[in-house]
Amino acid sequence: MKAGHRLVLFAASALGIAWVYCAGALNMPAWGQYRGPYGDAIAHLAVYQRHATDTVNAVTYDYRGFDTLGEEFILFSAVTGVMLLLRPEPGRPEAKKGKSSGNPASFRDRATLSETVQVFTTAIFGFSVIFGIYMATHGQLTPGGGFQGGVILAAAPMLLYIAENTDAFRRIVSHPLVEFLEGTGAAGYALIGVAGLAMGTAFLTNVIPLGTTGDVFSSGTIAAISACVGVEVAAGFTLVIFEYLREILSREKNEEP
């Protein structure tokens, strides 16, 4: 199909979709008039039943925790997929190719960074690690949680890369432990669920004492699951970043001596 024909076909059908969508939307409750019973029921039950003040995370990690298990494995399989697709091919070691191609330009400008930037980013690195851990462990109390904390943790090594501390960056992201942590984080979530089975209750039932509402160690499995998710997400994103950068990193390594 030519591009023009494709757009005409799309324009005609987009009108139809728009009509169906708007016909449906006009029959919805007006904006700001949420009436559904489900959300209100949970919002009022969660603090009593789960000792968690952030009801969104109570829903995410407990009431509908099984969805989140699926979601974590969506992440797991996507990370596995990225590693599968970008795997180095046997017989074509990238390091060798780097040498044979003479003196290739680095993808990054070689203009040196000012020391201020270097010191500053390294300081932020420490800060974002602490912030990521804080967020992953306080999900049951305040907005945040394992997923958000994990992404912040994964972004931290990138700061080292910006600060041209490439060596430290490479050592962190290419460590075999990262892959191990990604799998165990994901498995950990499912195993917390199985713990419920082992105690004779249903899958993903809370098995840890609930503690005092508002405490860091409150809300039982919610905090534990949130921590597992944090580990998995941090490791998963690190792996993805490493896979994208692998080729470039191996090039820079060759240049260094």
Binding site: D54, T60, P104, P143, G144, V151, A155, I248
Partner: protein, 89 residues
């Protein structure tokens, strides 16, 4: 209270969405994507969804554009290497 900024922000998002898909240069689009992700995060804050807003800031405004950037970089890097190899031969 949220009505007027909310309506304005939604209008801005609607315009940005069109602008985002009309941007043909991919590098520009990555920057635009980051900006669009930030707008969405702002909207989430405004409409009382702080959890999602945090996730959106970390993902939509940082992780996503970062991945796109890395992918583009890797492709450019590939092309540069290929060109070099050709010249070498």
């Amino acid at each position: 209270m949220t009505a007027i900024p909310g309506v304005g922000l939604l209008a801005l998002i609607a315009v940005s969405a069109l602008a985002l898909v009309r941007t043909d240069d991919v590098t520009c689009q990555t920057i635009a994507l980051s900006y669009y992700g930030l707008l969405l995060a702002l909207m989430f804050f405004l409409f009382r969804a702080p959890d999602v807003a945090l996730a959106q800031i970390t993902v939509g405004a940082i992780a996503l554009p970062l991945m796109v950037m890395l992918a583009i970089t890797r492709m450019k890097h590939r092309e540069a290497t290929r060109r070099k190899e050709k010249e070498g031969k």
